[in-house]
């Protein structure tokens, strides 16, 4: 699969490495070249400097041929906007977007965006851990 990832933070870099190991064609975007230091020297994908809410940059990243687009920058709104561009302008078959704010995540899920909220996921995970220890 061809995957475009926006945001080379800890999550983005980790995901890029995992997908690369699984032999997917990965392109990762970040506005800061410094972020690419998180990628190991064995990373076989493409790292590209640019802002993923700019349609020209997304085209350069090969969004038109991408099977999956993932938005994992620090900014909820940036992720939301990029995800909507990928979905509605470039018709990427699968678009996944990180939204920290649980309320905002709900709204955009209603609008058809596949979203994950680390806030919700992590809180649930912690609850499970705590409650199973008690038992």
């Amino acid at each position: 699969m061809k995957v475009v990832i926006m945001g080379c933070g800890r999550v983005g870099a980790q995901l890029a490495e995992l997908l690369d190991t699984d032999d997917h064609e990965v392109t990762i975007l970040d506005i800061d070249a410094f972020s690419f230091k998180r990628l190991s020297s064995t990373f076989g994908g493409t790292a590209l400097i640019g802002n993923g809410i700019d349609q020209e940059v997304l085209k350069r990243a090969g969004i038109e041929e991408a099977d999956v687009f993932v938005a994992v920058t620090q900014g909820d709104n940036r992720n939301i906007m990029a995800a909507q561009i990928a979905k509605h302008i470039f018709n990427v078959p699968r678009v996944i977007c990180r939204i920290y704010d649980p309320l905002r995540k709900e709204i955009y899920e209603m609008l058809g965006i596949e979203a994950l909220s680390p806030t919700v996921v992590f809180a649930q995970l912690l609850r499970e851990k705590i409650e199973t220890k008690v038992k």
Binding site: N77, I80, H88
Partner: protein
């Protein structure tokens, strides 16, 4: 009208002032507490300190009864999300978003924003109008009709000088509204009107015919 403005920067500030003087009920949502205090000191309690993209903030300021929602922060993505939350969660009938990247105009419309306003485009057009060698200028966009009003200047190097309108075979959807000669009074162009150097032609066209109109009218 109850109007909510997201962003208390310079645009938000002057916009609020103008709308207040027209007698509207205004609320500004601004993240920066210091900006908020300054606005409240000057205009009375019109500024709420918070994030205008957060549904809880929008619920608190009564967004469901707003008639108009305007997002004018400096970031396109924040303006988009604020307007979408207002529109889709709080059913605000009309949303206006400021955009900086002119490319986002079509995108925002597609994503449900009623009116995207691109200051960049406006500045570029205002400047283009003042550049004398620029043969085509946008005067007005009638976005709901899919039409625009443009001005084409017949420059001295135009290959159509001395030819009549009917001999040019203009695109069918073109309506020539007005011809302003360099000297003399404006006229409504007829099919036998002959183009002269220095003429300004005002036309109503669908945007995609812009290039077509320019080349047919000027021959360049």
């Amino acid at each position: 009208m109850y109007i909510i403005i997201v962003g208390g920067g310079r645009v938000g500030y002057y916009l609020a002032k103008a709308l207040l003087s027209e007698g509207h009920e205004i609320l500004i949502i601004e993240k920066n507490a210091r900006f908020c205090d300054l606005i409240n000191e000057e205009m009375g309690s019109v500024c709420y300190n918070g994030d205008g993209c957060e549904a809880s903030v929008l619920a608190e300021v009564g967004t469901n009864r707003a008639d108009l929602f305007i997002a004018v922060t400096g970031d396109d993505e924040d303006n988009l999300v604020a307007c979408q939350v207002a529109k889709f969660k709080f059913k605000v009938p009309r949303t206006i978003a400021r955009i900086r990247n002119p490319q986002n105009e079509a995108l925002f419309k597609k994503l449900g924003i009623d009116v995207p306003v691109s200051a960049t485009t406006m500045i570029l057009e205002a400047i283009a109008k003042e550049v004398p060698t620029h043969p085509l200028t946008h005067l007005l966009t009638l976005s709901d009709k899919g039409l625009e009003i443009v001005e084409v200047r017949i420059l001295p190097n135009a290959k159509t000088i001395g030819r009549s309108i009917k001999s040019l075979h203009l695109p069918e959807e073109t309506k020539l509204a007005l011809l302003i000669p360099r000297d003399g009074k404006p006229i409504i162009p007829a099919s036998d009107t002959v183009l002269q150097s220095g003429d300004q032609v005002i036309a109503l066209i669908p945007p995609e015919l812009e290039e077509d109109l320019r080349t047919t009218l000027t021959g360049i």
